[in-house]
């Protein structure tokens, strides 16, 4: 279970990206995080695995205090939490295989992994992960030769290598062609349903939230303004989250 208590983030330039945010995510949930650009969604996800250091507040993961963890403890926590990024964040010049194997770095020995030596088990696992996202035949090509949708699937395979209990997905479909959005989210849904991996996913489109998420939270200017079932977001709530001028749009 993930519990966030009074999380606040103030950037050095004075921007208050998160204000006292508290919520809980039960194991096996698919939680959508919604809100406008700049509402603090990315900051929230990055504070959970401390890619960004929160200013105050607590994050508990399986009753361990993430915010108080040392660098060595952080390594063991992070390797249970996979992350998928809007810009995929693959090492573009490296092969797909190498990119997927980097998901194993948190488990691997520093010296041998620095020399690109991975165990046979890790390599088999990488193939299995690639098979799960349907890219086993692309293992040896360079990451930047893939299309955007394929790159994001490599990103998911990389996260799978971590044997994650939780996946943080930061706008995983925002840089993709709308027709590919469902294919990526279906992979996440499948991991959530079949393997019981908890998913925290920030999303732009409300219809995607309705279709995939089991619960949702909404941020506005860094504050938590909604928490509940996606179905409960009616017109009034929608205006409260997105502002009075916003219109509902459907994707596909």
């Amino acid at each position: 279970m993930l519990r966030v208590e009074n999380l606040t983030k103030v950037y050095p330039n004075g921007t208050r990206a998160l204000k006292n945010v508290s919520f809980e995510v039960k194991d096996g949930e698919f939680l959508a995080v919604i809100g406008l650009s700049g509402s603090g969604k990315s900051t929230l996800l990055r504070c959970i695995n401390r890619l960004i250091e929160p200013t105050s507040g607590k994050v508990y993961w399986d009753e361990r205090d993430v915010t108080a963890a040392s660098a060595a403890e952080m390594r063991t926590i992070r390797r249970q939490i996979g992350m998928v990024f809007q810009q995929f964040n693959l090492v573009r010049r490296s092969s797909v295989m190498t990119n997927v194997l980097t998901g194993r770095l948190g488990y691997a020995n520093t010296i041998s992994s620095s020399l690109h030596l991975f165990s046979a088990a890790d390599r088999r696992k990488a193939f299995v992960s690639l098979e799960q996202v349907g890219l086993e035949d692309k293992a040896d090509v360079r990451a930047d030769s893939l299309s955007g949708g394929q790159q994001q699937r490599v990103g998911i395979a990389r996260a799978l290598m971590q044997d994650p209990k939780l996946i943080l997905a930061d706008e995983p479909v925002a840089s993709l062609d709308p027709v590919l959005a469902h294919s990526i989210l279906k992979y996440l849904e499948q991991l959530n349903k079949a393997q019981g991996i908890t998913v925290l996913c920030s999303l732009h489109f409300l219809d995607l939230v309705h279709r995939y998420a089991s619960s949702a939270i909404a941020l506005k200017d860094g504050e938590l303004v909604f928490q509940g079932k996606p179905i409960e977001i009616d017109d009034a709530r929608f205006k409260a989250i997105y502002g009075q001028e916003a219109e509902r749009v459907t994707m596909m």
């Binding site: 890619l51 964040n89 010049r93 490296s94 980097t102 948190g106 488990y107 691997a108």
Partner: protein, 687 residues
């Protein structure tokens, strides 16, 4: 087809390719349709073989004797390279090629062993003559800027003396003697002198006829600045029309234009391949020694370089507006004026500013051959062993070049970034017009002043020296007899290998420095911030001084010859690679770093998986680029005693053997052009 048959045919096939590659390196690869790989292997084997043979016959490099048989042990790595090529053909036939690093290692062994010997590397001298080096270093660290007079005797007041003097002065204690700016510093910067009154002052009644007036006489550094500025202005003006002749998209509209295009491009490439300093040697035959010769030499080279950049810029313009303007029925000139010009002005200005930076650097050394400017001053002071005077010149050069570098970069940035749209119909405010007028007047005055300072004389320009006709005639009749060809080839190889060693040495030192000078990697602790600033400062100061000026120091340490030249080039390579490398690190994509950190990787793993893959290709590309630059620089390093082809060239020029000098220049053009082409192609493959 059954599996067994398939393996059988694969095996027999791979046997064929093994035989092919065994007979001629690269042939097997070529047969397997890996044309680039095959050609590269074949060329490498050919060059390496010739090199091993040449260095054994002419230089006794790697010579070993077995009884009566004398041979080179370098044939061993050559054979290993051959074997690697055969194994590669076999692996290719089976589907996956071998790693390139194997072949590279054997090639590198041969190259570096030959380089080490022909560049006359004598590590013992570095140590044995360390005492001499320390003397020079002490002199260099104590420049002659302040003169102190003690008991009527003038002496140099360096940092120590100055510190004591100021301490005494502030404490109110008696000082050893009065101090003033030294004559040396005044020669460099400028001073007030009494000169015969110029005509216009007499005419205006400001001075008595045949009287004397006090006026500011510019120093050698100011002269250098004027030379760089004039050359940049002239070359920009001249390069603009020329660049249109060398732009394919413009010329293809004209009848016979494509032919003109090829001729123009060819001339630009040849002129560009000859270094400014070499042009200096030719120009002095025409207009005689002096600042004017320097300006012409800088202008010639600069026109060619700018002409190429400008024409490429013209070729890369957006064809849309050109199409639209032509569609209205506009003729060629109108199309250029309304569709081409607006697109190219900012980048032309940016290139001119870049060229200004380069011209200023060249202007500091053109005096070595052409006279005028600080280069001439350096030659004279060093000849008299005045290292403390030389040190002042170095500091002056460093300051001026760093300032020029900074201004040029800032202006380029502000020109190339998107300009805010000017509101239509709004009149310029009065004060901004006034300011503009002020700048224009200032610019004109500066131009006139620099014109005078760099001794530009149109009369000299149109009355070539008596030897010039002979020079042209001899230059074209290239002498290919063996007594010219032999030393030329030998010195050319020395030059290339000097450049190779200098690049390698510079890069090895630059590697750690590049990390220290990258802002995104140095942490936020005070120590690392200091390290960052110090690394950046060291790189900038070293980079501001031309290799020719370093040679002077190194010949005192390790003696005249290619080793000194190599060390000088290594210093400049270090500075440039360090800068480029740190910028490459600063420009990496942070996304992968974030992603790798999120997997729970530690710092070393993050560097190996997120940073190294991103910086390795640009780093190798910078090495190739630097080697290319160093070959150019190495062709002139001999003018200051750094060995190589430059020495041969000055000898021929000095003894008026222009037909031999012509041969050498032709060789330089060919080698530089080949290096330029090869490094550009290789870099394309890498990126």
């Amino acid at each position: 087809m059954t599996p067994s048959k398939q393996t059988l045919s694969a095996a027999s096939n791979s046997f064929l390719f093994i035989i092919l590659s065994l007979l001629i390196p690269g042939l097997g690869q070529f047969w397997l349709k890996r044309f680039g790989r095959g050609a590269l292997i074949f060329l490498s084997a050919l060059i390496l073989g010739l090199l091993v043979n040449w260095s054994l016959v002419h230089q006794n490099i790697g010579k070993v004797t077995f009884g009566h048989l004398a041979t080179s042990w370098l044939w061993l790595p050559f054979i290993l390279f051959w074997i690697w090529n055969v194994l590669d053909a076999r692996a290719l036939a089976a589907g996956s090629p071998l790693r390139v690093s194997g072949g590279l290692v054997f090639a590198a062994i041969i190259l570096y062993v030959v380089a080490w010997n022909v560049a006359d590397v004598r590590m013992d001298r570095l140590i044995a003559r360390f005492g001499d080096a320390r003397t020079v270093a002490t002199n260099l660290l104590n420049p002659d800027m302040i003169t102190i007079t003690i008991n009527g005797q003038d002496g140099i007041c360096a940092w120590n003396c100055l510190y004591t003097y100021l301490g005494d002065k502030l404490a109110g204690k008696p000082v050893p003697g009065p101090i003033r700016l030294s004559d040396n510093l005044l020669t460099i910067v400028g001073q007030i002198k009494s000169v015969p009154a110029p005509k216009w002052e007499i005419g205006l009644g400001l001075a008595a006829p045949a009287g004397r007036v006090n006026t500011f006489a510019a120093g050698t550094m100011l002269e250098t600045i004027a030379m760089g500025l004039m050359a940049t202005i002239f070359s920009t003006i001249l390069a603009i029309p020329i660049s249109f002749f060398a732009a394919r998209n413009i010329m293809s509209h004209l009848p016979g234009g494509t032919a003109i295009y090829y001729v123009a491009r060819g001339i630009l490439n040849v002129v560009r391949a000859v270094d400014t300093i070499v042009w200096g040697l030719i120009v002095i035959v025409w207009v005689g020694l002096g600042a004017f010769a320097g300006v012409i030499a800088l202008t010639i080279h600069s026109v060619a370089a700018l002409g190429k950049l400008f024409s490429e810029e013209i070729e890369h313009i957006d064809p849309g507006p050109v199409e639209a303007v032509s569609a209205t029925g506009a003729n060629l000139l109108q199309t250029i004026r309304y569709a081409v010009f607006p697109q190219i002005v900012p980048s032309f200005l940016a290139y001119s500013l870049l060229r200004w930076d380069i011209n200023m650097r060249s202007a500091t050394v053109i005096g070595f051959v052409a006279g005028g400017g600080i280069g001439f001053f350096v030659v004279e002071t060093v000849r008299m062993g005045g290292y403390q005077q030389y040190a002042t010149a170095l500091w002056a050069v460093a300051i001026v070049i760093i300032v020029v570098d900074y201004i040029s970069e800032k202006w380029r940035e502000s020109i190339l970034k998107d300009q805010p749209p000017v509101e239509a119909g709004r009149k310029r405010a009065f004060h901004s017009r006034l300011r503009l007028a002020f700048y224009v007047i200032l610019g004109v005055l500066a131009f006139v002043y620099c014109w005078n300072l760099s001794a530009i004389s149109l009369r000299d320009l149109f009355s070539p020296g008596s030897n010039f006709g002979r020079l042209i005639k001899d230059f074209v009749s290239i002498d290919l007899s063996s007594n010219v060809l032999q030393p030329t080839i030998q010195q050319m190889l020395v030059t290339i290998f000097q450049a190779l060693l200098a690049t390698t040495l510079g890069a090895l030192v630059a590697l750690p420095f590049g990390f220290l000078a990258a802002k995104n990697l140095t942490g936020t602790s005070p120590l690392s911030v200091w390290l960052y600033y110090i690394s950046r400062a060291v790189l900038n100061v070293l980079r501001s001084i031309e290799a020719l000026l370093y040679v002077v120091i190194f010949i005192f340490w390790v003696g005249i010859g290619p080793f000194a030249g190599m060390l000088a080039l290594a210093v400049t390579s270090f500075a440039l690679i360090g800068k480029l490398f740190s910028e490459a690190i600063e420009n990496i994509d942070t996304g992968p770093i974030e992603a790798i950190n999120a997997t729970g990787a530690d710092r070393l793993q993050m560097i190996v998986y997120a940073i190294l893959p991103q910086i390795t290709p640009p780093f190798i590309s910078y090495l190739l680029y630097q080697w290319d630059i160093n070959v150019r620089m190495a062709t002139i390093i001999g003018f200051a005693g750094g060995g190589g082809i430059g020495l041969t060239l000055t000898t021929y020029f000095g003894s008026l053997q222009y037909h031999k000098a012509g041969t050498v220049v032709a060789f330089i053009v060919i080698v530089v052009a080949v290096m330029d082409f090869a490094s550009a192609k290789l870099r394309q493959v890498l990126i």
